[in-house]
Structure formats: C-alpha cells, structure tokens
Amino acid sequence: MKVETSVDLAVRVGGLTLRNPVMPASGTFADGLEKVMDFNRLGAIVTKTITRELRDGNPLPRVVERPGSLINAIGIPSKGVPDFINKTMPHYAPYDTPLVVSISAPTADGFASLARELTLPGIAAIEANISCPNIEEDGKAFAMRAETTEKVTRELRAATKLPLWVKLTPNTGEMPEVAKAAEAAGADAVVVSNTILSMAIDLKTFKPCLGNIMGGLSGPAIKPIVLRHVFQCARAVKIPVIGCGGISNADDAIEYMLAGASAIQVGTATFVQPAAMISVLEGLERFCVVREIPRIADLIGAVDIEESDEPDVAWLNPVT
C-alpha cells in the first residue's frame, strides 16, 4: 500500500535531484523487475556495469550463499557499448526516472573514453565502478588506493559533463582517503560501497565454492561494516555519499542515512524479496510520518553524537 503523505522524499545527489533516495545497486537490477514494480517509483535506475570489451563473465558456480549473505563472482558479462545504446537505453527511455549507467574499464583511459562515449541525452549520471582490477597496477583495483582513484577520477571528470558518481571498494584500508581523492578529482558523489572480497570452500570436494575461487560478499551480513565506511566517508568529504551494503528494509536505509548517506542502493535484498526497493521506499515514508520528519533529507547525517561521545583516536581501530 502506498502511503499518502506530505513528506518530502526528494534528495539531492551528486548533481541530480532524485524524487526519493531509493535506487537499485548495479548488477542486481534489470528489465525483469518490470514484472514486479513500477520503475517510475524509483529514485533512479542504475544499470549493470558495462565494459567496452564483450565479456562472458566468470566460470560457474558464480554464487554461493552463506548465513545472511551471498558471495558472488559473476564477473562482468558485457554486450558492449552499441548494445547498451541501441537496446538498453531505449528500453528505459519511457520511464521518467533518471538512468544511471555503471561503467568499468581496465585502464584510466578506458574509463575516460567509455564515459565520453556514454555522455548522451537520456543518461542522467555515470557511476564509475572503480572496484575493478587496474591492469596498470597489476590488478589492484583503482579504488584500493587514493592515488589511482584520483588519476582515474580526474580523467573521467575531463571526459564528461554528466554527474559523476564513483563507486568505492571496502577492501581497502584507507576508504576516507580514497573518497577524498575522488572528491578532489571532481567526483560529484561516492557510492559506498561494492562487495567485500570473500571465500567459501566445499567440505565435500575441498574445492572453492566459486569458479573464480573468491567473490564479493553482500547482503545483511556486511551492513555494519559498510555502515561504518559510510559514516567515515561522509565525515571525510563534502560531496554526497550513496550508501550501499546489506540494505533489506527501511530501518537499514534509515540507519545509512543517519550515518551520512544522501541516498541508498538496494542490491542482494532484491533477490530475496523482489519488491524490496518499494517496501524500503514505503517504509521510509512511514517512518518520516510517524516521527514527524517533514523532509527525508533531514535524516542525512543526523546520527546524534555529542562531542563528549567523540572517541579518541582509538576508535579508528578500537582495540577489542
């Protein structure tokens, strides 16, 4: 049931005003969801990451479940740019929801040329998935370090006038520095975050559960970790932070906004409850009504930390 309210759900995110803060996480959304929900209710549409090269993706098995989580190593199956422009874009054109294209490339140049080519009417923003291997840095993801993040973001910034969102990896130990580097190089927002590198082994066969040996952990299990990254990044940069990690319901989304997220992305939860994004949206509305919060934007960074609570340096790495 859609709640009729006067709550203002709009949020400003990296150069765009979204009708609400709820959008899909890249790679967990496709036209199949049209059977489940009205895309015009979403704050934005974020497509699966595309690359210039045609890619098949990783060997199977590509997913394995763990309690409250999923490990995936899909890889990035990609049909390339022409297919995206000729088929994907027209498909979403009828919707009046901003279309955000997620892109990836093995080099900074590759990112830039892809962004340039996709700077088109009908594309509302570019999400650069820089959590992918940088072949110029023997496979370390761009987002693992501030320097490489700054370089690729700078080239991206020069290549497009579109709002530029940069998606970070939680596998680094210096996420706030990486977020600062993206901001300095001209990113309009950072997406925090991609999956956490993980592994699972089959006790019957002694083989890795994934064809790729390792994969990315997502789902409820990672929420407390990514929430911390969002909190730290939101305090490190002035540009908006888009929270993404284990959001399954409105309470999760609110926790992220309180920590500093201006908008949120729902990923794996959609696999379990296909209408998850809609129930998150309706739950956010309800929460604001019940708590008499006129604008949902009032929640952004509203976590109540009295200076007295401010922990000493120890909290950077609490000694547990």
């Binding site: 859609k2 790679g27 967990t28 959304f29 496709a30 036209d31 199949g32 969801l33 049209e34 059977k35 489940v36 929900m37 009205d38 895309f39 015009n40 209710r41 699966k48 098949d56 993706g57 199977l60 098995p61 590509r62 997913v63 479940e65 763990r66 309690p67 409250g68 989580s69 999923l70 995936n72 899909i74 199956p77 049909k79 297919d83 088929k87 994907t88 498909h91 009828p94 919707y95 009046d96 789902g219 959609t270 696999f271 379990v272 409850q273 296909p274 209408a275």
Partner: protein
C-alpha cells in the same frame, strides 16, 4: 541483456508496463504468501506440496517455476530462494503445487511445513513449454526431478487435445513420480529404471524410434537427464522433429538480474550464454548443450 529480453518479448510481454503510473501498475510476478494445504511424501525421496495462492500464482504455465523462500530447518535460514517447477496450477481453486526431492538445507526446511503454514513463493517465472496446435502426438521424456517439471504437460496437452506418451526414468520403480498424473490425463506411460536396466540410452532410443515409426512423436519434451536429451537431439535431427528441454541451473534472483544461472547454448552455430531463469528454463531442444 536487453537483446535477450527482446528475444523474449512474447514470453515476458505481460511483464511490460513501460511508464504506466503507479495507480495502473499491476505486477505479473508476486512474492505470494501462500498457505500450505498439504505437504505429503509420495515416496522415499519426493514430497508433494499443495498451497492455496493468489490468482497470479495460480496462472503458472507448464515449464514455468517459482522461487520458494524455504523456512529454516534447524538454526540456519537458507538465504536465497529455491527454484521449483510448477507441478500443478489451478486458477479456479487458486492452488499451486510442487513435487520436490529433499536435497539440502532449503528443501529440508520445505519438508517441515504443515497444513496452515505460510510459504512465500515468488512467481510464476521464466518461459514455459509451448505447444504447437499442429502437433497431434507429443513425447515427454524425463528423469529424476525432471518428471515434476514435465508433469503439467499432461493436462495442457489433453486440453489442446494432443496425445502424450511419457517415458519416465528412475533408479528404481518405486522412485518413479508423476506416472499416475500422466495416466490420469490419458497419457501412455512407459517406465524405465536402472534396477531393471531398461533406462539406458540405447533402450530409450529404441522406444523413441518405435514411437516415431508409429507416427506418435511430433515433438519431444524433456527434462532431468543430459544423456536422454542427447538421444532426443539425435533423433530430432534425424527425423527433423521439434523439441523443447527444461534446464536446471543454480539461481539467485530468478528474474534475469544476476547472471549466475547462465548456460551455453548453440544459437545458429554460435555458442552464447543464456539465463536459465529468464530465457528459459524451457529452451529449444536443438539449441541446448549437454
């Protein structure tokens, strides 16, 4: 991905609502909180679960499937849904049923459900079997859980008044499922088993050649055995017969979102990936690869 869905415009058409305003939007796939009516063992390995469901779910077609949110057995809650073919769907009674084998955590949890319990089933999903009105005789060849997937063909074929011959393969005679259901819709049933060593490809091929010779095989429908599929591909090629196969693959989303369920298919000589959940689970027999 849109090329793929384009290729499926018909199959998935009812899903399209383009920019319809919220007011008008009607989902064609729902996560339906059904109520279990029965959940009984049918033999040492299989159980039959019947649930009363929404009209959307009850309209599932043969070969389509649901993603079941299996209750936890013991402490651990299976995180992903589990795909299950529709075994029966009755729009009048608003019922859907599944025939399942207990394999691991999810199906164990499923087996714990009793009448009155709630079961969250998401669907109907995927592209089901298609029956060409021109066909008079169809042959269904299945093994294991594949028999559950083929079963609803019996009723559909009868309604389209086609004659069905079902070749059902199992390890032992008492592990055969769906035979009663096939018979109830007037199908001829041939049971082949390992224990009687009648289930080998050679013998099945002999049976199928006879059916073809008798003019009682316009199309093959198969599920659950790669070996038997290959026999049918050979015969379909030899006699240029139509055929469809229902494939299995591990799934996460069931809606074509995640690409974890891809398999290789031979589309006009080119080997390409297809998503079993979205482009299938039913595929053209000749495009499928073992």
């Amino acid at each position: 991905m849109s090329s793929v869905s384009a290729a499926n415009t018909d199959a998935h058409a009812q899903g399209r609502s383009a920019a319809a305003p919220a007011a008008e939007f009607k989902p064609s796939v729902v996560a339906d909180l059904t109520t279990v009516i029965a959940n009984e063992p049918v033999n040492a390995e299989y159980r039959h679960l019947v649930a009363s469901c929404s009209i959307e779910a009850a309209q599932a077609k043969p070969g389509q499937f649901f993603q079941l949110l299996c209750p936890h057995s013991g402490s651990e809650q299976p995180y992903l849904r589990r795909p299950m073919s529709v075994y029966g769907a009755d729009p009048e009674k608003r019922q859907v049923s599944f025939l399942y084998k207990i394999a691991g955590a999810g199906t164990h949890g499923l087996a714990l459900l009793g009448p009155g319990d709630t079961l969250d089933v998401m669907g109907p999903l995927g592209v089901g079997f298609r029956l060409d009105p021109a066909w008079r005789h169809i042959v269904a060849v299945g093994r294991g859980a594949g028999l559950a997937t083929l079963a609803p063909l019996a009723q559909a074929a009868k309604q389209a008044d086609m004659k069905v011959t079902a070749v059902l393969s199992a390890r032992r005679p008492n592990l055969v499922v769906s035979d009663a259901l096939f018979r109830s819709y007037g199908a001829d049933v041939v049971v082949v088993t390992d224990s009687e060593s009648t289930s080998g490809p050679a013998n099945v091929e002999r049976i199928l050649r006879q059916l073809i010779a008798d003019g009682r095989c316009d199309a093959f429908f198969t599920c659950g055995s790669s070996r038997l599929m290959q026999v049918q591909q050979k015969l379909a090629r030899e006699f240029s017969l139509a055929g469809q196969v229902a494939m299995e693959q591990q799934m996460a989303c069931g809606l074509g979102l995640c690409y974890c369920c891809v398999r290789d298919f031979n589309i006009g000589g080119e080997i390409v990936h297809r998503r079993v959940c979205w482009d299938g689970p039913v595929f053209d027999l000749m495009e499928a690869l073992p």
